[in-house]
Symmetry: C2
Subunit: 152 residues, 2 copies
Amino acid sequence: MSKPVVPRPTDTELAILRVLWERGASTVRQVHDTLLRERPTAYTTALKMLQIMTEKGLVRRDESDRTHIYHAKLTEEQTQRQLVRDLLDRAFGGSSSKLVMQALATRRASSEELTEIRKLIAQSGNTGETQGRTENTEATQGKRREVGDDRD
Amino acid sequence: MSKPVVPRPTDTELAILRVLWERGASTVRQVHDTLLRERPTAYTTALKMLQIMTEKGLVRRDESDRTHIYHAKLTEEQTQRQLVRDLLDRAFGGSSSKLVMQALATRRASSEELTEIRKLIAQSGNTGETQGRTENTEATQGKRREVGDDRD
DNA sequence: TATTGTCAACGAAGACTTTCGTAGGGCAGG
DNA sequence: CCTGCCCTACGAAAGTCTTCGTTGACAATA
């Protein structure tokens, strides 16, 4: 009932976390190279961010090699849940139905999304317990990531 | 290629917006008094925040009287939509079904909430025949985020 | 061995947030 | 007219976020 184990990631931190989730454990160099595809940025910026994120506990660092390796402490799903909960508290008075409503109003929900969502709702007939495992229903959208790995 | 008309409110700004949504147009004094119920804070803090929020366009100020009157520029729903869209982009790759999933996993969804949500989904069902283009969902990073419809 | 390249660690600048003290104007009651 | 109260406007302090240049350690290579 206290503070989250990890603080809410900032925008930049989230961008880095996305990289780590996508690539898995990575070096600063790899994170930086990936970040470069989106926007120009200096290597030391990525390094500094990862150092700070380590202090905050957002990522873990393996220092056994000279070139450190970072990986996200929480999974993407855990972080998403944290962010949703946070937003729920800050802007929705805790009402998840309102949040869902706005999510639908977003117009980003394609018909496939809607179908998927409907399925989710149907499953969650049970309210008492936790949703059990966070199924990775990524069937929603084909995985079309161009993971054209840099080099390595 | 227009940026959101208003910036994403910070935590404190959101707290103030909540007051304005709840009370309707209010004076600094009224906002401050309401804020006091949650946490101790100085009058000038509320004043300063409202001044800044006016500059940012988050609120409007009626200066016709010596005691100014502030009101939120966007409705609660508009802001919620903006925040959801924002979160969708930053942490969910645009997938609203994933967001809904996490909203449900939050365990905050009471059975009434679930019922409500189910109703929503059912309604949005007939949206199925989304005429026009259904915006391909894979635009994970929308370059163009129009928030055009901020009018009521 | 000298050179070149990679890497972590700082430190600091600049922008943004949040908080509050102080100042000055207006206004009502004395 | 003076006093005290309420109001707005500043500005500054402290904290956070983001970015990047510089430095020194290491290592591979010529």
